[in-house]
């Protein structure tokens, strides 16, 4: 349970930030660690533990939001302003959230980490265990979907 005790507080804070709900964040944190413990052998180095658990938590929370269709709910707080602002590339947060309904999960997770959590492309690549080139492609896919949404595409 050392993993839960060490990383639980920060993962809970992340889940709460994404889900904007304390109870949902509590459940998501437990679920994240259930999954993390199952696949613990995949972590070769202690320094990779936080990005790895981050990845699990982000996927889980974004899927919850998708399944609950909570994208369009009013957001109680200002989006995290970090790295490159979401507004600069994709418009406001509500627009980004609507956009998320139209892109595959792999693109959504990249976009969330980059635009909402402010991770740069290398950090996103590290968290997801993919190449930076893949991150660039997925962000390009989001930009294309954004252009489509702006012009009123279905």
């Amino acid at each position: 349970m050392a993993l839960y005790q060490s990383y639980g507080p920060l993962i809970y804070a992340r889940c709460r930030k994404i889900l904007q709900d304390e109870t949902a964040a509590e459940d998501a944190t437990q679920e994240t660690f259930m999954r993390a413990y199952k696949h613990l052998a995949k972590v070769k180095d202690a320094s990779e533990a936080l990005p790895w658990i981050y990845n699990i938590a982000t996927h889980y929370c974004l899927n919850l939001l998708r399944d609950g269709r909570r994208w369009a709910e009013p957001v109680a707080e200002v989006p995290e302003r970090s790295g490159q602002h979401a507004e600069e590339s994709c418009g406001d947060r509500d627009f980004l959230l609507r956009l998320f309904e139209r892109v595959p999960e792999k693109v959504r997770v990249v976009a969330w980490l980059h635009y909402m959590e402010g991770l740069d492309q290398s950090e996103v690549a590290r968290v997801l265990g993919v190449s930076r080139r893949t991150v660039v492609y997925r962000l390009a896919e989001l930009t294309e979907a954004a252009a489509h949404l702006r012009t009123g595409g279905a």
Binding site: Y4, Q5, G8, G83
Partner: protein, 103 residues
Amino acid sequence: MSSEPQHHLSALTLDSLQMGALPPEEERQARAHLAQCPACAERLTETASSAEHFSKVVQPRTLEQLRERMQRPAPWLSRPGVRWGLAVLAGVLAALGGWAVFR
């Protein structure tokens, strides 16, 4: 006029800083940024507040729950059909083993 930096620390950097997991040079840079950036300092405070709530309230209540959930067999293993199937499979394997020994 605000002198707030244009670029901000990522959530991963802030969390790593909070865990004391940043290499010394990166930690120095992050702290220097925080000293000049109220937005990032506020995000750090907000994360710290959520993390503290978890440590004081949520973790003591959920640690045992998580331990129990991890010890439970997977839900599909508990289904009667699956249990019956596994019992039949075990019987078949035992019979095959016996037959192999008999031969």
